[in-house]
């Protein structure tokens, strides 16, 4: 597509930024010549081999980057958001760590050395960057602070933060939803506030973008070059279409008519032939045959439901979606020899069903309940409740995805009602980046949201990772939200 001069520059600048994944020819000094000695001397007595408080070891590069029981201590390239540095710097109302534990605070020189090591990528002695290459990343939109947390699924830590404000976008860019290429080579994020869908590579560099009004949820066709974009609420009258984008060059090829206002819920059949969408304003959904453009309109009878999102079974293409207002779950049978798509059954799924997901085998459906701070797991054989998942970190759950291997389930939580008490409350008025919070950007929330890692087999909450403000959409190479 044609790029405006401003965005050509933006992409160029992005490409020239300190590479988020690449190893530079002349890397800065490595761990042992910078942060290592300081951490060993000042921190390892509590965070070392003999004693590893909070599960954190700072006596090695590997330990420092592995983080603690609760998540990362350092985020490569992002000193401002690195918890260890925020504590060491005495941010907010906290006394600087480790002086709060009775030890002398870090000197300014020590702090600066640590800060620079992180800002330059937190490299090892060979100059290699942590968390690069063909790893399994989970991407989480922090809608309230114009950033995306890139989480290493296996390590359970924030491996990078893509801060769009540092790439020339406004603080209200509102990243909303993410999908990821099956091979992990690229990921796509909708920015509501600027009307763009960005394409970023594995190294988190913007490589292209498409303009489309009020982009909302995304759906990626793994079998073809198509990306579909629904509409967000951020307009009085958004288009009644779903944008169809050719991913290879990010050209908006057409706007698929879905007939009704505010098309929000969005998913694809596993073979990519049928697009499902539903309205936030009417009890209507559509199943669009993408080859012919033929649409089957589905009436979602009853009181006002307000369907938020769909998920499609990877096995038989059955689609399920939930009504925000009623808690009614709709099961839609895909088109087949017997006829077009149809609503096969409905059942109660109270608690505010939100973005939902099938597992990779189509044997379970995981439905976050936004108003109840839990996940309800259904058996699609008979739609009985197979399990419920509740516990720490579930606070206005929003998006849900699986890790590539299906072992982990990741759930983003906006913490809109402050149900989750963060380990360190740096106080209202500041977010993770130290940025002043704009009133109204985060709902009721004055605290960051969470990403909860759950053992998919047992339903046990494994880890609560604190991330940015108002985490919403989430994407992965596993079964993504909405498919």
């Amino acid at each position: 597509m044609d790029l405006s001069p401003r965005f050509r520059l933006l992409i160029l600048v992005t490409a020239l930024l300190p590479a988020a994944g690449a190893v530079r020819a002349q890397a800065p000094d490595g761990f042992s010549r910078t942060a290592g000695p300081i951490l060993a001397a000042r921190c390892a007595s509590c965070h070392g081999a003999a004693k590893a408080e909070a599960g954190l070891r700072l006596d090695s590069w590997e330990g420092a980057l592995a983080g603690s029981t609760f998540g990362e201590a350092f985020i490569p390239f992002d000193a401002e958001r690195s918890l260890a540095l925020r504590l060491a710097g005495g941010q907010g109302a906290f006394e600087a760590h480790p002086s709060d534990a009775g030890s002398p605070a870090l000197s300014d020189e020590e702090f600066e050395t640590l800060r620079r090591w992180v800002a330059e990528g937190a490299r090892d002695d060979a100059g290699a960057l942590p968390y690069t290459g063909d790893r399994d990343f989970i991407y989480v939109c922090n809608q309230g602070e114009a950033s995306v947390s890139v989480v290493d699924a296996d390590a359970g830590v924030v491996a990078r933060v893509v801060d769009f404000t540092k790439l020339g976008f406004p603080v209200n860019a509102k990243p909303h939803h993410i999908v990821v290429e099956p091979d992990g080579s690229h990921w796509y994020v909708s920015l509501i506030g600027v009307g763009r869908v960005l394409k970023l590579n594995r190294d988190n560099e913007i490589v292209a973008f498409a303009e489309t009004p009020f982009p909302g949820l995304l759906a990626l066709d793994p079998n073809a070059d198509w990306l579909y974009v629904g509409r967000s609420m951020t307009a009085v009258s958004p288009p009644q279409t779903v944008a169809r984008i050719r991913r290879s060059d990010m050209t908006v090829v057409e706007d698929v008519e879905v007939f009704f206002p505010r098309p929000h819920a969005l998913t694809l059949s596993p073979d990519g032939t049928t697009l499902y969408a539903a309205s936030l304003s009417e009890n209507r959904a559509a199943a669009v045959d993408l080859a012919t453009g033929d649409a089957t309109l589905l009436s979602l009878d009853g009181p006002i439901h307000t369907i938020v999102q769909f998920a499609a079974s990877p096995v038989d293409g059955t689609v399920i979606g939930g009504g925000q207002m009623t808690g009614t779950l709709f099961v839609i049978r895909p088109p087949g020899p017997a006829g077009g798509a149809r609503v096969e059954r409905t059942f109660d799924g109270p608690g505010g069903p939100w973005l939902l997901a099938y597992d990779a085998k189509g044997e379970r459906v995981f439905v976050p309940n936004k108003n109840a701070n839990r996940i309800t797991v259904y058996d699609p054989a008979d739609w009985s409740v197979a399990a419920t998942i509740e516990g720490e970190g579930l606070a206005d759950p929003e998006g849900i995805v699986f890790s590539r291997d299906g072992r982990w389930l990741f759930l983003s939580n906006t913490n809109m009602h402050n149900a989750y008490e963060p380990r360190y409350d740096f106080g209202p008025g500041e977010d993770h980046s130290g940025m002043h919070l704009m009133p109204g950007m985060h709902g009721f929330a004055t605290r960051p949201g969470t990403l909860v890692r759950i053992d998919a087999a047992s339903g046990t909450i494994d880890k609560v990772i604190e991330i940015g403000m108002a985490p919403t959409g989430i994407g992965s190479r596993g079964v993504p939200s909405g498919r």
Partner: protein, 623 residues
Amino acid sequence: MRIAALLLALALSACAAGLDGGASAPGVPGADARIARPARSVEEFGRALVRRVAPFPVTDPDGKPVREPFLGGFNVPRPQFADIDGDGDHDLFVQEVAGRVGFFERTDAGLEFTWRTDRFADLEVGEWYRFVDLDDDGDLDLVAEQLFSHIRAYRNVGDARSARFELAVDTLRDVTGRPIFSDRQNIPNLVDIDCDGRLDLFLGQITGTVVRYEAAGTDAGGIPRFEFVTDRWEDIEIVGMMASRHGANTLSFGDVEGDGDLDLFWGDFFEPGVLLIRNRGTCEAPDFRGEPEPFPVGDPLLTSGYNAPAPADLDGDGDLDMAVGVLGGAFNSNRSIVDNLYLLRQGTTWSVETGRLLATIDVGSDSVPRAVDLDGDGDLDLVVGNKIDPDRNETGSLRVFRNVGTATRPALVEEVPWRPAESFHPSPAFGDLDADGTPDFLLGRWNRHTDRWAGVEGAAGRGVAERFREVAAPYVELTRGSNSSPALADLDADGDLDLVVGEASGTLNLYRNEGTAQAPRFALVSDEWNGWRLGRRAVPAFGDLDGDGDLDLLVGTDLQGVLVFENVGTAQEASYEPRGALPIPAPVLAAPALGDFDADGDLDLVVGGMPGGLLYFENAGVR
């Protein structure tokens, strides 16, 4: 014939400006002493078009006159009253589309508002606007959305009687220098809530809470600097646990109780009515901690939700009245695509006076007009398709406006809706497909199908539903696509009608009639005619725009207006060259129809669009 038409055009054009008292489109000159002549090129055709909002009488199905029938319709009207001309009454402003505000001047002691412009003062307003005296100089300034989700301010550098606006601040900032954020779907407001002489800025949140800022000094130009006060003003929380990122709201203030302090009105995406939160305190010490009440209390207004209240004492009786624009929330927004600008008046009780404060032709949304002499009386009637019938959620309909006037002095009467097929987006194309002298039509549907209907001979005096019978459904099927919009025209001068079908993707499909005038047989020539991709929602219409004896082409589009294609070939072998868009204020999803409505020998233009109404452009010739 050409000479006769020219003379007629000359005679009529001399008094064109006086026919209806209607205003011209911005930039189009009004009456001119020079004599007009017909357009000789498609460019001149564009320049010859003059917008009229009331070119001839129109009455609704109940026999009531429609005062300004060609306003274009409303789907998401955002009203506000303001005395912009200092004449002591409330003028009406209505925003229908992003970026501009329409102005309707109060023109009598009753509640008569007269259209002046769709783009007041050329102000760029984003998704919302509010008139307010920011600099306390006695005239109204303006605040509006700065893309995206920030606030801009215009200063009125004219005076209370003659407003003239200059951009004062492109991004309103708080006293610390940080931009003030206002989610663009939430329409804020500014009042002095505590009578301390300082403006307060209120921003509704998607969670149903209210952020308050208060003016704390001014900049060098007198524009207030606002200081953040609270993000939970008066602990108001409208939607509570239903809070999500899918909300939207509007808020406004008025003294509903007449007790000297301002009360709060709230419209919400998840609320079918307007909520009133009474000020239980005083002007100096407001208290809004009571429960929200559906308004009017006891007999609340119920719509599809996301209502935009605009309170004002409209009848000068000392109490508050209110207009309510319905933007369409979670409660089936299709319910409100016609009745969406309510007037509520306060007497001994509150009553809903009308759902159409501005009476105009409005068939719902996505209107597609066609001009045809349906009843064979020698004048043009008007048939308008819509997307979906406001009264029946499962189908669209055709609205017939029968011409009960004459060919030179039309007068349209709207008949009851006609639903020839259970289909959304019925889009007709009229023509005599069997050479029997009665009009037949093809009916495009919202999908790939186009049906064929035949006129019934000898049925001219009957109701419209009895004048036609279905012949084939579907009759023509696109290879791919939706929103079939057919147009019939003899493109090779062989005496039969050929067919062009526009579709949602913006392409045109050409079908050559390989049959006869009596028995058409449409054969697909191209499903991407001329390789054109015209944005989205192509709606074709043919007519000889430049008077050279062949058929030129207009194509309505979603965002590019009405595109012109000049026939640079011949009547026998049409060949089209693009000539840009007509210089008219076309709506989104523009759908053109050509017809000589005043029988002056040239083609006038009617344009439908997303708001569901019609725009009328008289061909006044060129000078």
